[in-house]
């Protein structure tokens, strides 16, 4: 009789080798198509500039204050994200740890969560003017809710059996939080952090589109007002790169902090 065995590791390795070229295939084809169509005049260049034109614009911007725009957007995201995420973990932990706090806070927070993000903008402008403050607050709101949800789900879902071990060793309330609950909730907290960071970038653009004199969002609206589709696309490309880079950084952190996990994800990498 003929026995065949499936060699899984080899198949996995092969899939991994193909992953990068496969992922790049579609963007490369689309970019090449756009380049060809624009050059042939099939698409008007003022609406869709050729990819090479966008690259040239980015190079030109680089010597005309692009770094300043990138830095001010990034700083806004980091400050707003840090504030929103910190508050999210704090309130999430409070809600997860006490039924009374949950009854008090959770309904209100869930109602606030249902408000579309852009609905805050007029109110924030009224309250805080067109300074930095409304932008930072809006970004913080964006980062807050994913973090809050992650903290509530993570801490609330910690295995009762591990908590019992903590009780057996008479951990204080604080030690129970820092030594058992937070580490056990870390996977969920990291997911909250990643989602929060993604939303922080999104809300940053919303804030800057409306009132700003610096930043990538400003570049977007400036490009629209001066009918420069190449500037708009350049800003979009930069936003994509920054968002992807910060998420990759977060993933690297996640892999490092969560290497103790015995999970499907862990075996896949």
């Amino acid at each position: 009789m003929n026995t065949r065995s499936l060699s899984l590791p080899a198949a996995r390795k092969q899939a991994w080798r193909l992953r990068l070229p496969l992922g790049l295939l579609l963007p490369a084809v689309l970019l090449a198509l756009a380049e060809v169509l624009v050059r042939a005049g099939a698409v008007p260049a003022n609406l869709l500039p050729a990819p090479s034109q966008v690259l040239q614009t980015i190079a030109w911007l680089a010597s005309h204050g692009l770094a300043g725009h990138v830095v001010s957007s990034t700083v806004r995201v980091l400050v707003g994200f840090a504030a929103g995420a910190a508050l999210g973990v704090l309130l999430g932990a409070m809600v997860a740890l006490s039924v009374r706090t949950e009854a008090l806070l959770d309904p209100t927070l869930q109602a606030l969560r249902a408000i579309p993000s852009l609905a805050w903008v007029p109110l924030l402008l009224l309250w805080f003017g067109i300074d930095e403050t409304p932008k930072l607050v809006l970004i913080a709101i964006g980062a807050f809710f994913p973090m809050y949800m992650g903290a509530v789900a993570g801490i609330g879902g910690v295995d009762r059996k591990l908590v019992e071990v903590g009780r057996l060793y008479r951990l204080t309330r604080l030690a129970m939080v820092t030594r058992v609950l937070l580490p056990a909730a870390l996977p969920s907290l990291m997911t909250g952090l990643r989602n929060g960071l993604g939303l922080a970038w999104m809300f940053m653009v919303a804030a800057e589109l409306i009132a700003a004199s610096r930043g990538l969002g400003y570049l977007l609206s400036d490009g629209r007002e001066t009918s420069r589709a190449d500037i708009v696309l350049a800003a979009i490309v930069l936003l994509a790169i920054l968002g992807k880079a910060s998420d990759a950084g977060m993933r690297a952190l996640e892999r490092r902090w969560l290497d103790w996990r015995d999970s499907f994800e862990g075996q896949r990498r």
Binding site: E164, V165, R167, Y169, R170, W260, R261
Partner: protein, 233 residues
């Protein structure tokens, strides 16, 4: 002589259902007692009460004559599952309950047959190895009373015998008093000075550890006979 551990549970309920009623059990210092009984008889509940984890019952627990109202260092508990913290190494798990003393942790690791594996994370250990770490953690604070809840039920027969011998040796060396819940009569006969059958109340059988196969067999017979009519307890 004051009992090392004295349990008196008059009434323990889960909701409406009475789990334990009028159970009295006293362990002499250094005594190894197995607790057997059909599943659902409240064996694990009784251990949780003895460990101070469960305090919603009518009755009392005395260690050396002193009331136990919550977890104490002098009473250790080893669960049915290893319950290791997955983000801590084996060594960190063992030292979890107190100040980390690398020498004592290394010595315990060696005693449970895991010398040099202190840096392994729980997911890198097999089920039997994880349970060894749990045993070491339970012994780390040198409790005078050690409670075990079917600790070896999930490991293979060979590992089980090894761990039973480790337990017996360490308990002897430390003159620890041991209360072991098990569903394995052979394990109970092998390990204990006395077997207690929990069937509503608690009735005792003197166990014949090292007293030969014939005596063991007759005690096993007697316990099984008692166990049958109360299966539905």
């Amino acid at each position: 002589m004051t009992a090392a551990l004295e349990l008196s549970v008059f009434d323990k309920r889960h909701g409406e259902r009475a789990v334990l009623r009028d159970v009295h059990l006293a362990l002499q210092p250094g005594e190894i007692v197995s607790l057997v009984g059909a599943s659902g008889c409240g064996k694990s509940t009784l251990l949780a009460i003895a460990a101070g984890l469960d305090t919603s019952y009518r009755g009392r627990v005395l260690q050396d004559g002193v009331a136990v109202t919550g977890p104490v260092d002098g009473i250790g508990l080893i669960f049915q599952e290893p319950r290791l913290f997955p983000w801590l190494t084996a060594a960190q798990n063992i030292g979890f309950g107190g100040e980390a003393d690398p020498e004592r942790i290394a010595a315990l690791l060696e005693e449970v047959g895991l010398a040099g594996r202190g840096n392994a994370l729980p997911h890198q250990l097999s089920g039997g190895q994880a349970q060894r770490v749990a045993l070491a953690r339970g012994l780390y604070l040198q409790p005078r009373v050690l409670l075990l809840d079917e600790p070896f039920s999930a490991v293979d027969a060979l590992t089980r015998r090894q761990l039973q011998e480790v337990l017996l040796k360490l308990a002897r060396e430390r003159a620890a008093t041991v209360l072991l819940v098990t569903h394995d009569l052979d394990e109970a006969l092998f390990l204990s000075d006395r077997i207690v059958l929990l069937d509503g109340a608690a009735s005792s059988f003197d166990a014949p550890r090292g007293r030969g196969a014939a005596a063991s067999a007759s005690i096993k017979e007697a316990i099984l006979e008692r166990l049958q009519p109360v299966q539905a307890c």
